[in-house]
């Protein structure tokens, strides 16, 4: 008996040890950590995804590439012409491009690809296209239903990554999950959702974006994208050499990164805005005075300095400051103004009580403040809570898991929340404040007739870019004056990497970390 137990234990331990065959790490391999906001993105199907991670940009190419100055450049489309009335676009495609599964990329690809958007999550991207005409093998003409000045932006967005239509049709829901084929510099080797994605180099690749020095193939042979939910864990991995690059470093960690001699930081313009949505339908926020008061109670400078270590900038509109639509009238911008906040609350009948909480008719000014469980949100929200308390608003924090909070918003019971978005186009105003999306994403429940008119003009009533900018600026400005939210902070995108391992391109001409950067990146031997 004893004997047999001993044997069993022995064999059990032997087989257990055999289970972990250590993975050898060779030189032209790199390990990247995805930004925490991208953790758990379930698919590499750009058409049906709400959330795509950075690896997507290496698997797929896009028709148009966007430079750091937000200008548009060729990629899979070598050139294009827009009809003067904006009712059609003609694209000339790059010859010799092949998908990972060997299928050619040509004019025949475009029709089925754009067709796939119909009824999908991202259908709005192609809404304005009436039909696709194949002119010749490498030329397509998009006939528009209405002018779409945003066409090039959409075509440069990762949601319009060019997929391989045949396998897309054949794989159905598995496309982007088990298999995925694009024309990008890397092929998907394995994908474990929430854990890691392994990409291997596409050795046939020669059609890289002109924004990169290297048109292909890439220098790095294999890239592993790890998903680490905790920023601090990710940082420790970078610090201890476990990974080579963090695709997103929260501002409060930057000072730590800078302390390490072997680590370097690459700063790109940010596309995020942190803000506080205010539910306009929930008392006391049905009173615009109270909305304005809480919006002006937020001390953006203090938050920038203390929570984000002074990195990035304050947000005073809903849009990132790089967008022209953010240039609204100064009066519409929302700044910290405690005197005004207090005055407004007094005016609205909320009288300061002895306990530092305002009250009206014996009802204390208690409101709910929702946030998500990521550490940066929790910290930011606690500061917001304290700042609201300073003007006599008692906000009670409820923390939800980041993926769960969306369901909660759909119930419409929130009053205040702290959240962020990541988008570099003005149509995000429509997305978050359009009356057709009440509940979610319009968690402010903002439904204003005048805003709707302005929105319609902005979304569909612009014939060209200049008009679109003007319309969106007006819409944006009006929304700001109604205080359905309070802007807080606008970060920069910081990428931290191990300078002993990675050589970054000297100049990075891209609006974000992605294919352009990786093409010119090298691993030190």
């Amino acid at each position: 008996m004893t004997m047999s137990i001993r044997k069993t234990l022995l064999s059990a331990s032997v087989s257990l040890f055999a289970l972990f065959a250590a993975q050898a790490v060779s030189a032209q391999e790199a390990v990247f950590v995805l930004n925490t906001s991208e953790v758990g993105a379930p698919t590499y199907n750009p058409i049906k995804a709400n959330n795509l991670n950075k690896a997507t940009t290496l698997i797929f190419d896009r028709m148009v590439s966007q430079a750091a100055d937000l200008s548009y450049h060729p990629w899979l489309a070598e050139s294009w012409e827009e009809a003067p009335d904006g009712m059609s676009w003609t694209f000339h495609l790059k010859p010799g491009v092949k998908f990972h599964n060997g299928e050619p990329f040509n004019a025949a690809t475009i029709g089925p690809w754009l067709e796939a958007f119909k009824g999908s999550e991202n259908a709005y991207m192609t809404e304005a296209i009436a039909k696709v005409e194949v002119v010749d093998d490498l030329t397509v003409k998009l006939v528009m239903a209405r002018p779409e000045p945003n066409m090039l932006y959409n075509l440069s967005s990762s949601f319009m990554s060019v997929i391989e239509p045949k396998s897309y049709a054949a794989l159905g829901d598995n496309y982007g999950v088990t298999e995925v084929y694009g024309t990008g510099p890397f092929k998907l080797e394995s994908f474990t959702v929430g854990q890691e994605t392994v990409l291997v180099r596409n050795d046939d690749y020669t059609w890289g974006s002109p924004l990169a020095k290297n048109a292909g193939p890439a220098h790095i042979a294999k890239i592993t994208f790890r998903e680490i939910a905790e920023d601090s864990t990710a940082f420790l991995e970078l610090k201890t050499g476990g990974v080579d690059m963090l695709l997103g470093v929260p501002a409060d960690l930057l000072s730590e990164v800078k302390k390490e001699p072997n680590l370097a930081v690459l700063t790109l313009p940010g596309q995020d805005v942190y803000y506080m949505p205010i539910n306009v339908t929930k008392a006391p926020f049905d009173d615009i005075k109270v909305r304005e008061a809480v919006a002006k109670a937020i001390n953006q400078e203090e938050i920038l300095a203390s929570v984000f270590g002074g990195i990035g900038s304050v947000a005073d509109t809903f849009l990132i400051s790089a967008l022209p639509e953010s240039h609204v009238a100064d009066s519409a911008k929302i700044h910290y103004d405690p005197a005004r906040a207090n005055a407004l609350l007094d005016e609205a009948g909320w009288v300061m009580g002895a306990d530092g909480v305002r009250a009206k008719d014996g009802v204390p000014l208690k409101v709910s403040l929702w946030t998500q469980s990521d550490s940066i949100f929790r910290r930011l929200t606690e500061v917001v809570q304290a700042q609201l308390k300073a003007v006599g608003v008692d906000a009670e924090i409820t923390t939800f898991d980041s993926s769960m909070i969306r369901d909660q918003y759909k119930t419409g019971t929130q009053q205040l929340a702290v959240r962020s978005y990541d988008w570099d186009n003005a149509d995000i105003v429509d997305w978050f404040f359009g009356a057709d999306r009440l509940g979610y994403p319009n968690i402010s429940m903002f439904n204003d007739p005048k805003a709707e008119e302005l929105r319609k003009a902005a979304m569909t009533g612009s014939k060209n870019m200049a008009e679109r900018v003007a319309n969106f600026t007006a819409y944006h400005e009006y929304v700001l004056t109604q205080f359905p939210m309070a802007p807080i902070y606008q970060p920069v995108e910081s990428v931290a990497y191990n300078a002993d391992r990675l050589v970054m391109p000297e100049v990075l001409n891209a609006s974000a970390m992605g294919s352009v950067a990786v093409m010119d990146m090298e691993v030190k031997e």
Binding site: E230, D231, S232, F235, L236, K239, D252, L253, E256, E302, A305, S306, V307, S373, S375, R378, R379, T381, E382, V383, Q385, A386, E396, I397, T398, T399, F400, D401
Partner: protein
């Protein structure tokens, strides 16, 4: 005149420091506002991240709040949540366990099966699922913890009563003509009480850890109310930058739970019920 057992336990070698620590923690939790010049919720962002110093004995957190102050207030949350949860658990568990032992038959079998199975299930999982159902916050945590430990007290009570049912004094009472109620409430439950209460005390220690773990997942008490778990959760994000934020609450949990265990052991020895507790596990 003999002292009651809880006081006698204080005179044992390990029971003394353990009991004193517990008394200290409880008193500190009660008298929190008197003990510290700082408020637990007023932020002073300029003095964030300060290591332990003369003005902040345990340093400050990421909002510049005094860590010692928050630790003391955190004791309030952690101790009250876990002890209230365990109290609920004990009350329900004793009722259920006594009913199972008393009525026997299919009811007993059903209760035993369910209880044994949940008992083998890790408490943290039960608690996590329950918090997911109820929603985060103090109430959710309390309910989750009390359900997580329900199996333990049901089992224990049932085992105690099953053992006691075999004792001759129960038969003696029956031979006098005692009814079920008399036997249950005069003999069985009072005798089952001591082991259950002592286990409840030990379980309170485990519950403190469980509460901290839920807090770590951000599911416990919501800010700015401090709880030990919540503090560690916040501290975990920057463990390398300000390790004191996570180290001290962790030590508070560990020392308090050690103290509960040592004092509980002393109490068990004093009440001479070790065998009864062990047999029931």
């Amino acid at each position: 005149m003999t002292l009651p057992a809880p006081l006698r336990a204080l005179r044992r070698p390990a029971g003394a420091p353990a009991g004193l620590w517990l008394i200290l923690v409880i008193l500190a939790a009660i008298a929190a506002p008197l003990l510290t010049p700082y408020a637990y919720d007023i932020q002073n962002l300029k003095s964030a991240w300060q290591p332990p110093s003369a003005s902040h004995w345990l340093g400050t957190d990421e909002f510049g709040r005094d860590l010692l102050t928050r630790l003391i207030y955190g004791a309030r949350t952690s101790l009250s949540v876990s002890s209230i949860a365990i109290t609920i658990s004990v009350l329900c568990g004793m009722t259920l366990g006594a009913a199972a032992a008393w009525f026997g038959g299919w009811f007993d079998r059903a209760v035993t099966t369910v209880v044994d199975l949940t008992w083998s299930f890790p408490e943290i999982l039960i608690a996590l699922i329950l918090v997911a159902i109820i929603g985060p916050g103090t109430t959710g945590t309390m309910v989750a913890i009390s359900v997580a430990y329900l199996a333990q007290f049901t089992r224990l009570t049932r085992a105690q009563i099953m053992t006691l049912k075999g004792e001759t004094f129960i038969e003696a009472a029956a031979s006098l003509g005692a009814g079920n109620g008399h036997i249950l409430f005069r003999h069985l439950l009072p005798n089952a009480l001591a082991p259950v209460l002592v286990s409840a005390m030990l379980a309170t220690g485990d519950a403190i850890i469980l509460e901290a773990t839920l807090g770590f997942f951000g599911l416990g008490a919501q800010p700015p109310v401090p709880s030990w778990g919540g503090m560690m959760s916040a501290g975990s994000a920057l463990v390398f930058k300000a390790p004191w934020i996570i180290i001290f609450p962790g030590l508070a949990v560990a020392i308090t739970v050690v103290a509960i265990n040592l004092y509980g052991d002393a109490l068990i020895a004093e009440l001479d019920i070790r065998a009864r507790i062990r047999r029931a596990v």
